[in-house]
Symmetry: C2
Subunit: 246 residues, 2 copies
């Protein structure tokens, strides 16, 4: 639910801290010239996170922006009594840097071994200053995120548990296919059942039960605890859109 989408590939100069990443692009610059991408990357320095390690907390001052190059992050907000809402997951290629009033609106925490390319906000801002087309791109990505957030509001406000799970798996599938550029049958779930529950506004028990139901209906299969196979994409799509209820 934050700046997203991986794009064009860009070569990195030898010796750069981001060398060895999964990704050779800067997501937010999908439309920018390769020269510009390389230049931006040069300004960054590498940062690594272990599973469970936070990158920053909700309310922290936002002094850096990041590109995720390897791993997965979950983004979440907490209520004072501990209720958690996961607002999104970040994958390689995603850009992390939108903030209001220079404060982070959510906590970002690694789900796996994670690697980021970090830019100081000042340097990033001056880079954007020098490349006005970057500004447009930032706006485009924010607009995209906003549309995704509205879609998630429909899910949280109006969909049943089964519809939420179906929508979630299809969204992960779409993303995997966009990343690989090929059609996929298997979807990796790098997050726990609790994380899925907190993203979909459910409990982990309900997630487990609905998962069992989707298996019994032959819509999906569990290849492993954290890998699902999509058996009936059309059926899953109908379910996700609420067409199975009647």
């Amino acid at each position: 639910m934050v700046l997203a989408t991986s794009r064009n590939l860009t070569p990195l100069p030898a010796g750069h801290p981001c060398l060895g990443c999964d990704v050779r692009s800067v997501a937010v610059c999908g439309v920018l010239e390769c020269a510009m991408l390389a230049q931006l990357r040069l300004m960054g320095c590498a940062q690594k996170l272990k599973p469970g390690e936070p990158l920053f907390h909700e309310g922290d001052e936002s002094k850096q922006v990041y590109t995720l190059t390897k791993g997965v992050l979950k983004l979440y907000k907490l209520l004072p009594d501990g209720r958690r809402q996961v607002t999104g997951f970040m994958f390689p290629g995603d850009f992390l840097g939108i903030s209001v009033d220079d404060a982070h609106a959510f906590t970002a925490e690694a789900l796996a071994d994670t690697q980021l390319c970090k830019f100081s906000r000042g340097r990033f801002d001056s880079f954007v200053e020098e490349h006005p087309e970057m500004e447009r791109e930032l706006y485009r990505v924010a607009a995209h995120e906003l549309a995704a957030a509205q879609q998630q509001m429909v899910l949280l406000g109006r969909k049943t548990a089964a519809e939420r799970l179906a929508s979630f798996f299809l969204a992960l599938l779409d993303r995997a296919e966009r990343a690989s550029g090929a059609s996929e049958r298997f979807v990796k779930l790098p997050m726990s059942r609790s994380d899925i529950a907190d993203y979909l506004g459910l409990t982990k028990e309900t997630v487990s039960r609905v998962l069992a139901m989707l298996k019994k209906r032959r819509l999906i299969r569990l290849e492993a605890l954290d890998v699902i196979e999509i058996l009936d994409r059309e059926g899953l799509t109908d379910l996700a859109e609420g067409l199975m209820g009647e």
Copy 2:
């Protein structure tokens, strides 16, 4: 849940279609020079809507952008079976124009007699082209919207019915106070109970019942069916943040 916040006031030239509006500003240009605001306004032409009249539908091609000058709009998305999620309300000063792939992500419908200042997207884009600081402002507003959307996800995913209503009233109160620049005790509800329900992920019956409960707890009072008085703002805030449950 779409571009928002009213700001600086700008005089409009005599004879302009927007003359007679509630607002003398273009929200999205909060930081821009007055000269620029006036110039943008000159490019616009007026449009009026009656209650219940749609401005555009979800999926329609997005050929215009708008500034709301008078009235209220509700923005919503539908599931195929008719379930509705209201993603936001628009008030005078709000800007309506963020879209992805040139298609509207939601339906916009008037709740009252409404007046807008309309710009063709092409002219708006070339105006933005000529005023790069406008691009930054668009981005800033989109980022603000995104933060609000994430807040709404917490509400929809994790809050109880009472917490949702309390949060909603406080958000309306905040907005009213920002608009008037003064402290307020009364909040106008220009939308129906069903609209509130569809915004908060509830049913209209639950909204009514929770309203009755809030009255009994002396947190609010109904001045009229569509005007609430805030009797205990602190209590309402505690409730909205989930601090009353324990």
